[in-house]
Amino acid sequence: MSEEKTILIAEDDFSLNRLISFKLKKEGYLVISTADGEAALRAALNENIAAAIIDIMMPYLDGIQVLKKIRSEKPHLPVIILSVKSRKTDLHQAYELGANDYISKPFQPEELIKRLKELIGDN
């Protein structure tokens, strides 16, 4: 990678958050890790990030709200939404609001990294 890209993670499950962060750092990315919707939104709007990985169920502001607000300011920021498989309505809502990709939990971290790289052209 010519320059280090920054990826935002918004996930309130601490162990999953840390796992994804670890993997991303190993791939050479810089990581901003947040565990609630408000912190995620602040980072998404104020930091120079290459992509955001956002969980739907989070305290203060859920991932759908975060995505909605991101889209009004940064319409082209690549966003991957994470959610529980059984909640099909989440998926529709996420795509309608302009999520670029969607991964249902639980997932293999490799799968997330692969899709992220495809999305930001790091293959």
Partner: protein, 381 residues
């Protein structure tokens, strides 16, 4: 055709010539029963119907059932009342054969809804003229609610169990890939064991969740035109290495282009379970997977055979039941939940297929799956 003993009926003329006696009997029955004339005017309403719907006889007798009394809807809330929709009307006047009981929602007098299972049948005069209709309904609200609760429970359980396991697996993989620093040989060996056990636990939980999933009422199947040969090819490839690792021969012969209407994910799961079992219960010999088309019966035929421990005759009937496990005193326990074949059976049946088992204790098993389909990509009708 209803069968009855004519001699017996002859002895009971008083019941059938005297409606009071018949009404007494119908009032003893715990299913709701009502009788209408051909225009669906309610002529009789039994006590169980009162109890289930809250409407008393004096509330409904002489009224038309279309007068918004039960106002049947299907489970999704679509109207089933009115001439063009009423199932009772259809059985009386449109020659629609009374089918299996229908699950519908009916209005309760208090404004709520009860879920009932209903069947309809026309009543004929001796001259074969339609003189009315009969509806029988049973209150199933409680069991429907239980099913819904169960589905919700499994859905949340699924998340609660899978999330920590997925995290554990992720961290274990990191450690085993030495991403968190070097490991000595003993540490590596022990962690591999932890990893294997975690995988087993995950598999068991998947099984249990599948079962809950299949039991839940809102479970739906996709129905897409799909290439079963390709599905089977993928399944075969994913098990090939596992069979070789165990020292087994794995032969497969799949006719190309076998096509059916079905759910790719579910069918993959069914054949995964069958092949997984074949390998699990076979210590030496051969695993075979064959698929072809039987032109005579118009069915796709898939065979999964192994040379494994086999299934004792006594167990063969029950093997597709939930939680059933063959206890084999002579062999090492393989672990498992007894859900795998139950799931296979459910999936195949939902595709209007059937499954047949042939096995000799100690000398292998062959599972044959028959599925309606076509041999050439659906081009031949």
């Amino acid at each position: 055709m209803t069968k009855y003993d004519n001699n017996l009926i002859k002895k009971l003329p008083s019941i059938f010539s005297n409606f009071d006696r018949l009404a007494d009997i119908l009032n003893q029955i715990s299913d709701g029963i009502y009788i209408t004339d051909p225009d669906r005017k309610i002529l009789f309403w039994n006590l169980a119907a009162e109890k289930i719907t809250g409407y008393r006889q004096e509330d409904v007798l002489g009224k038309y059932c279309a007068d918004n009394i039960l106002a049947h809807t299907d489970m999704a809330g679509n109207k089933l009342c009115g001439e063009d929709l009423c199932p009772l009307h259809k059985t009386m006047h449109e020659n629609q054969k009374p089918g299996s009981p229908l699950k519908v929602k009916a209005k309760h007098r208090d404004g709520g809804r009860v879920v009932v299972e209903v069947s309809f049948t026309p009543l004929y005069s001796p001259e074969k003229e339609i003189i009315g209709g009969l509806e029988i309904f049973r209150d199933v609200s409680e069991s429907v609610e239980l099913e819904e609760q169960k589905a919700r429970f499994f859905s949340s359980l699924s998340h609660e169990l899978k999330t920590p396991l997925a995290n554990m697996q992720g961290y274990l993989e990191l450690i085993l890939a030495k991403d968190a620093g070097p490991l000595n040989e003993v540490q590596e060996e022990f962690l591999k064991t932890v990893y294997e056990q975690e995988q087993k636990l995950s598999a068991i939980i998947e099984d249990l969740l599948d079962m809950g999933h299949f039991e839940s009422t809102d479970f739906s199947y996709e129905k897409n035109l799909l290439d079963l040969s390709e599905v089977l090819n993928n399944v075969a490839r994913s098990f090939y290495a596992m069979a070789l690792k165990k020292g087994l021969d794995f032969k497969y012969d799949l006719a190309p282009g076998l096509t059916l209407l079905g759910d790719r994910e579910r069918l993959t799961q069914a054949f995964n379970n069958l092949l997984g079992n074949a390998i699990k219960y076979t210590e030496k010999g051969t695993i075979e997977l064959n698929a072809g088309y039987d032109r005579e019966s118009g069915e796709i035929v898939v065979k999964v055979s192994d040379s494994g421990i086999g299934i004792p005759e006594d167990d063969q009937k029950a093997i597709f039941e939930m939680f059933y496990r063959v206890e084999n005193p002579g062999t090492r326990s393989q672990g498992g939940t007894g859900v795998g074949l139950y799931v296979v059976d459910r999936i195949i049946k939902r595709h209007d297929g059937r499954i047949h088992l042939e096995s000799t204790n100690g000398a292998g098993s062959t599972f044959t799956v028959y599925l309606p389909g076509s041999p050439d990509g659906g081009k031949e009708s």
